[in-house]
């Protein structure tokens, strides 16, 4: 079986800066697996998410990433998306003048056109039905469709809109970058329910998930098979769900103590 995502010795930094942020990340996600990536601020979690999506702010200096066996780093961000990668952004940007509905329709049509250049795209009534059904999944008011993308959305609305996009675009790898941050408990439940529904629905191939979070809280709702700790740009510890609980109890001090010595020695 081909892994959904295979990251080997990944090094990356901000474009034009010397200091490396990722310093040799290794991670494999198989179809249907949920992996949680935890770690203190500045450890490189969001950088990893953004590098996987191809954000031009970052530059890969070493290593490789295979997505369903293909060279992910050689693809443009739009190609990665159409191949099945989805990133729920930590800070989704607002795009004035572009409605959520128009945006999602264009995203669907871009997929259809990539497969068949002659495609006329999804019909408006069909799209409307699809979007309504997906919005209902996340208890979103239908008026959301006519609003400008993320413009004036509350924190919770932005995160819900990200998950709505995920449910509509049906990826095979979903990366959730601190999707829980800024959510109250109700919003957290709606968002994680949404992720779980998408997982249930997505059977062939099963959805692989990378959940990036600071807190154990989200992992009560999205139950990971594996938990990894990223520290100073490297995965320093991996385990099962119990690792998240351990971190919750003792904090990252434990990780720091254990690994700072090693980093200094290097």
């Amino acid at each position: 079986m081909t892994a959904t995502l295979e990251i080997r010795n990944l090094h990356a930094r901000v474009q034009g800066e010397e200091r490396p942020i990722l310093r040799g990340v290794d991670l494999t996600i198989n179809p249907g697996e949920i992996h949680a990536l935890m770690g203190p601020n500045g450890s490189g979690k969001s950088t990893l998410a953004n590098v996987l999506m191809g954000n031009p702010v970052y530059e890969v200096t070493e290593g490789e990433v295979r997505f369903n066996g293909e060279d992910l780093l050689a693809m443009e961000p739009d190609e990665r998306s159409r191949a099945g990668v989805f990133l729920a952004f930590q800070y989704p940007v607002s795009i004035p003048g572009v409605t959520l509905a128009n945006f999602l329709r264009q995203a669907i049509n871009a997929r259809l056109k990539a497969v068949n250049p002659e495609s006329k795209g999804i019909s408006i009534p069909e799209f409307r039905r699809l979007l309504r059904a997906k919005m209902d999944m996340f208890s979103m008011d239908h008026s959301f469709a006519g609003r400008y993308l993320n413009e004036g959305f509350s924190g919770g609305e932005k995160k819900r809109a990200e998950i709505l996009q995920m449910a509509t675009l049906e990826p095979t790898l979903a990366i959730l970058d601190e999707t829980d941050s800024g959510l109250d408990i109700d919003a957290l439940r709606i968002v994680s329910d949404g992720v779980n529904k998408v997982m249930e629905k997505q059977v062939e191939p099963p959805l692989g998930v990378l959940v990036i979070t600071h807190y154990q809280r989200l992992l009560n709702y999205i139950k990971p098979h594996f938990v990894h700790v990223l520290y100073e740009g490297r995965i320093v510890e991996s385990g099962g769900p119990e690792l998240a609980l351990k971190l919750e109890e003792s904090g990252y001090a434990m990780v720091r103590e254990k690994f700072d010595a090693a980093v200094v020695a290097e």
Binding site: M53, G54, N55, P56, V57, E76, P77, D78, R80, S81, R82, L87, F89, P92, V93, S94, I95, P96, G97, V98, N102, F103, L104, Q106, A107, A110, R111, A114, Y148, Q165, L169
Partner: protein, 446 residues
């Protein structure tokens, strides 16, 4: 390229003569008052020196290269018909429910429809030359007497003396017209035209007007001198949309003024896509207590286009509100200027004036200026202004790409989005779609 070549030679100013004025009056068999009006305006024209870059409002736009002589021949319409006008420009706005339609080609009326039921209620909608004969009192009373004055500038005076065509819309007291009036100024023959707009809404009247300026592409230069006069009576309500898409060898000089009476509303949308060089004065006068005026402007300059827009919001009564938003984009080596001013007469308390200019710079060689200004002589006021400049940001484009949308399409969406707020203020779906297509054509460089 052509525009540049022309700009380097030729006359230093307009080449029209008083004989042109007389010939025009003769050809149209004009009433004496109008002949006198034109000749007086000609005297005014001759008394005003040519603008130069030492004048504050001409400082940023060089008109020395304007092809005065080459474009100086007044256009005489030959055998023209409405079929010359592109279908999408002349198609009905609301599927036949218009209050009236008037289409000019080279200054000649090629299509004219007016709703009889409206005529019965006293609404006048006709071309200006006819109106000057059929309704001389009304036309004489308002034509360049209340809003744009011949003394407003060299080209306002020239326009007064030499206007070639235009339309007159008059809506009597308490008459509310639902269907829009649609007017198309289309030119096929290169040369000079001077088009006039005179809209008079009496107290408590209501109307919507859509005006389009366009011309067939040509290698030969053209000139257009325009004047727009919008007179909105007390508690009246005028929605006015004008779109300019001249060919790329046209130079335009225009004066526009809307006057808004007590408790009245003027909602003015203004779009510029075409021409080679444009200098446009756009004035909004809130004259009556509680008057409310909004101007929404959008422009997109590419290649070597030059747009110089000069706006003024005048608060001439207390409790007046004006709101101006101009959004523009420029690419290639285009040049745009927006210069805005909010003024108040002394002691006009409780006024609310706002002006904002948002500029999107799409190439390193393009240049955009935005110069807001306030001259307020009262203390209990709310006035503010803003001018911003930005380039196409990577973050929103990356966001769209991360959902599978290719880069060129993502860029198109972001630029479209920039203009969307203003396009939404155009009340006609098919016009919005056409504008969107024109914006997209500019983005992809067609």
């Amino acid at each position: 390229m052509l525009a540049n070549a022309i700009r380097t030679r030729g006359a230093v100013g307009p080449t029209y003569t008083v004989e042109d004025v007389k010939a025009l009056s003769e050809r149209n068999d004009e009433p004496q008052w109008l002949r006198d009006f034109r000749l007086n305006a000609w005297d005014t024209y001759e008394s005003i020196p040519m603008p130069s870059r030492t004048d504050e409002d001409w400082r940023r736009t060089d008109i020395r290269g304007v092809p005065w002589a080459a474009a100086g021949q007044l256009v005489e319409a030959g055998d023209v018909s409405v079929q010359i006008v592109p279908q999408d420009t002349r198609q009905p706005l609301v599927g036949g429910a218009e209050g009236g339609t008037l289409v000019f080609v080279d200054g000649k009326v090629v299509e004219y429809r007016a709703d009889n039921a409206l005529s019965a209620r006293g609404v006048i909608f006709t071309d200006l030359a006819s109106a000057a004969k059929s309704h001389p009192d009304l036309v004489q009373k308002h034509l360049m007497a209340d809003a744009v004055m011949p003394t407003d500038g060299k080209f306002a005076a020239l326009h007064a003396a030499l206007w070639t065509h235009g339309f007159f819309l008059y809506v009597p007291r308490r008459v509310k017209v639902e269907g829009p009036f649609h007017v198309v100024f289309y030119n096929r023959t290169p040369g000079t035209t001077l088009g006039h707009v005179l809209v008079v809404l009496e107290d408590d009247a209501q109307a919507t007007v859509q005006v389009e300026y366009a011309s067939a592409s040509s290698d030969d230069p053209s000139m257009f001198f325009g004047a727009t006069e919008l007179l909105v009576g007390a508690r009246a309500n005028l929605r006015y949309v004008s779109l300019q898409n001249w060919n790329r060898t046209t130079t335009e000089f225009t004066h526009q003024r809307g006057r808004v009476g007590a408790e009245a509303t003027l909602d003015w949308v203004f779009g510029v896509m075409g021409c080679d060089l444009l200098k446009d004065y756009i004035n909004l006068d809130a004259d009556g207590r509680g008057a409310n005026g909004r101007i929404s402007g959008f422009f997109f300059a590419d290649k070597e286009q030059v747009f110089d827009l000069d706006t003024q919001q005048n608060h001439n009564a207390p409790l007046t509100a004006t709101d101006l938003l101009f959004k523009g984009a420029a690419r290639d080596s285009a040049r745009t200027v927006w210069q805005g001013m909010i003024k108040s007469l002394p002691k006009m308390q409780k006024i609310d004036g706002y002006q904002a200019n948002r500029n999107l710079l799409l190439s390193d060689d393009a240049r955009m200026d935005g110069i807001p200004g306030l001259e307020i002589e009262a203390d209990d006021v709310k006035c503010s202004h803003a001018a911003t400049f930005g380039t196409l940001e990577e973050a929103p484009i990356h966001y769209l790409m991360s959902r599978g949308i290719p880069r060129n399409q993502a860029e198109l969406m972001v630029i479209d989005g920039f203009f969307d707020e203003l396009l939404q203020r155009v009340p006609f779906e098919q016009v919005r779609e056409r504008l969107q297509a024109e914006i997209e054509a500019k983005i992809v460089g067609r």
